[in-house]
Amino acid sequence: MARDFDISTNQSTFVLEALKQNIRLDGRKLLQMRDLDIHISPDEYGYVEVSLGKTKVACRVSSEITKPYEDRPFEGLFQIKSEISPICSPFFESGLTSNSKQSNDELLISRLIEKAIRRSGALDVESLCIIAGEKCWSVRADLQFLDYDGNFTDISCIAVIVALMHYRKPDLEIDGDDIVLFNVDQREPTPLSILHIPICITFQFYNPNGDVENVKGDSNDELILIDSTLLEEKISLGSMTLTLNKNKELCQMIKSGGLNIDASVIMNCCILANKLVDELTDKIQTLLKIDALSRKSGMERELQVVNDR
C-alpha cells in the first residue's frame, strides 16, 4: 500500500520552474499568504474556525476549577490538546504507533504550538489562581484539524490565540472558604489575561539547483516562500518556523534540518515575518472588536427576555 501522496516528477519540476519565475500554482507571489478567514462563533465564547485557503482548523477553549500543582500553588493550569485525525486527510492515521510518521508530524505541530503560546507566556497563568494552593482555573484549548492543504502550524497557532482572546470565563466571588460562581446572565463573564499575541510564520526553502549547492556553492540562490500548500510543502527541502509578536519579540525559532541557510537570509525572514505579524495582529484585533460590539451586554440580554414574552 502506498501510504503517501503520489507526487509526480512532472508536478515537482513544474512547481519549481514556476517558483523560479515567482509564480505559484494558485496565482500568488512567493511571499504572499492565502486569504485568512476567521469565523468566530456568534453565540458562545471561545469557539473559532480558521481557514487559510483549503486548510481549516477549529479551536474550542473551555475551563474548569481544579487544584493547582503542589509546586506551583500560585499558577493556574493551561493545556493545549491537538489530535490530527484522518478526517482532514487520509495522510494522517488514527490509532497511532510510536514510530509512525503521522505521530511524528502531530508531535511536531503540538510541540510547536505549545512552545509558541504556552511557554512564551501568552496566557498569564498566575491570573488563573483563585485561592493559592487550593483552587485555580484550568484552561484547555482543544484543536480540531478539519481539512489539510499545508501549513498546519501557522493556522493552528492563530486559531488557539484567537480562541483564547475570545474566551470569557464565568465571574466568581470568594466568600470566606466558599466560591460563588455567577451565571452568564447574572454577571458579565471575564476575559482571560493575554499578555501578548504570538503568531507563527513558516517559511519553506527550495533550491532549484539541488540542496548540495547550498553547502558547497558560492551563490546561494535558494527560493523562500510562506504559507505553502500541500504540494509545495511536500517538495520543499527544508522549513523554518518563526514565532513573533507585535512588539518585535522573537518567541521561538525552529529549523529542524533541511537546507543550509545563511544567517543573513534568516534575518531577512525575521523582518518579513514581522511585517506579516503586524498585519495579522491588526486583523485579529479588529475582528474581535467587531465581535465584541455585536454581542449584547448582560442588561440588554435581560431586557430582551422580557421583550420576547
Binding site: 500500500m1 501522496f5 512532472n10 519540476t13 509564480i23 500554482l25 487520509p90
Partner: protein, 236 residues
C-alpha cells in the same frame, strides 16, 4: 437522446419500451430470477439509444477510483517489482501493475525505462477482484502507441471523478472548446480523476489548470466569461 432521473439503490428501474437489444452499464444489476433491474448506487439514470440498441447506466460522483477494464487512466510510477512497474492511480490506495513489456514493440532487450515519479497514460487491461489490477500502454485496436505511454513535462492535477468522465466522453465539452479558442495545449484525461496538461508556456498552463478545476462548479453559461477573466487576470 439523454434523459435523467434520480435513482437510489433498490428503486425500480422502469424501462418504458423493452427492446431486444439492451446494454447495462455501470451500477445496474440484472436479477435473472425475475428479470428485474436493480440499481446499486444512487445517481442519475442515463438512457442512450443508438440504432436498435439502448444503453442504461447510472452516473454518480465518487471519490475513490475503482479500476474497470478498458478505462483510460493516468498513473504515477512508484516503484519496480521484477518485470513490472508499480503504478499508483489514487493517493492512499493499493498500487496496480504495469508490465515492462506492455508497450508497443517492447522486447526483453528493448523496453522503455521508467523512473519513480514518472507519469504514464495507460489502459486498464485486467481488473479481477482476486487478482492484481494490470495496466498496459498499447492501443488494442491497432497494437500501436495510440497516445499511451510516458507523459513528458507539463503538469497533472486532480478533478472529481464524474467530471473527468464527462470531459473524456463528451467530445464537445464546453470548457475544452473554450480553452481551444484561447491557447494551444496537449491534454490527457484519466477517468481516475487525474488530468495532465501541457502548453508552451508556464502561465498558460496554470491558467488552463485553474479554469478546468474551477469549471467543475460553474454552470455552462458562465464558462466563457469566467475563463476570459482567469486568462486576463494572469496577464495573457
Amino acid at each position: 437522446m439523454t434523459e435523467q432521473t434520480l435513482i437510489i439503490p433498490g428503486d425500480d428501474i422502469n424501462i418504458s419500451e423493452p427492446t431486444s437489444h439492451m446494454t447495462l452499464g455501470p451500477n445496474i444489476l440484472h436479477n435473472i430470477e425475475n428479470n428485474n433491474l436493480i440499481p446499486t448506487t444512487s445517481g442519475f439514470l442515463n438512457v442512450q439509444t443508438k440504432k436498435n440498441n439502448t444503453i442504461y447506466y447510472i452516473e454518480s460522483n465518487t471519490k475513490r477510483y475503482i479500476p474497470n477494464v478498458n478505462d483510460f487512466v493516468i498513473g504515477t510510477v512508484v516503484g519496480t517489482i521484477s518485470e513490472n512497474y508499480r503504478v499508483s492511480l489514487n493517493d492512499f490506495s493499493t498500487t496496480v501493475l504495469l508490465n515492462q513489456l506492455a508497450f508497443p514493440n517492447a522486447t526483453k532487450k528493448n523496453r522503455p525505462f521508467l523512473k519513480t515519479g514518472d507519469l504514464i497514460y495507460a489502459r486498464v487491461l485486467r481488473s479481477d477482484p482476486d487478482l492484481e489490477v494490470e495496466l498496459d500502454c498499447i492501443d488494442p485496436t491497432t497494437g500501436k502507441e495510440g497516445g499511451f505511454g510516458l507523459l513528458n513535462g507539463g503538469l497533472n492535477f486532480n478533478v472529481k471523478l464524474a467530471f473527468a468522465r464527462y470531459l473524456l466522453f463528451n467530445s464537445n465539452a464546453e470548457i475544452l472548446n473554450k480553452l481551444v479558442s484561447k491557447c494551444q495545449f496537449e491534454i490527457a484525461i484519466g477517468v481516475n480523476g487525474k488530468i495532465w496538461l501541457k502548453t508552451d508556456d508556464l502561465k498558460t498552463t496554470i491558467a488552463c489548470m485553474t479554469s478546468i478545476q474551477q469549471s467543475q462548479n460553474w454552470s455552462k453559461s458562465e464558462i466563457s466569461n469566467k475563463v476570459d477573466a482567469i486568462f486576463k487576470s494572469s496577464g495573457l
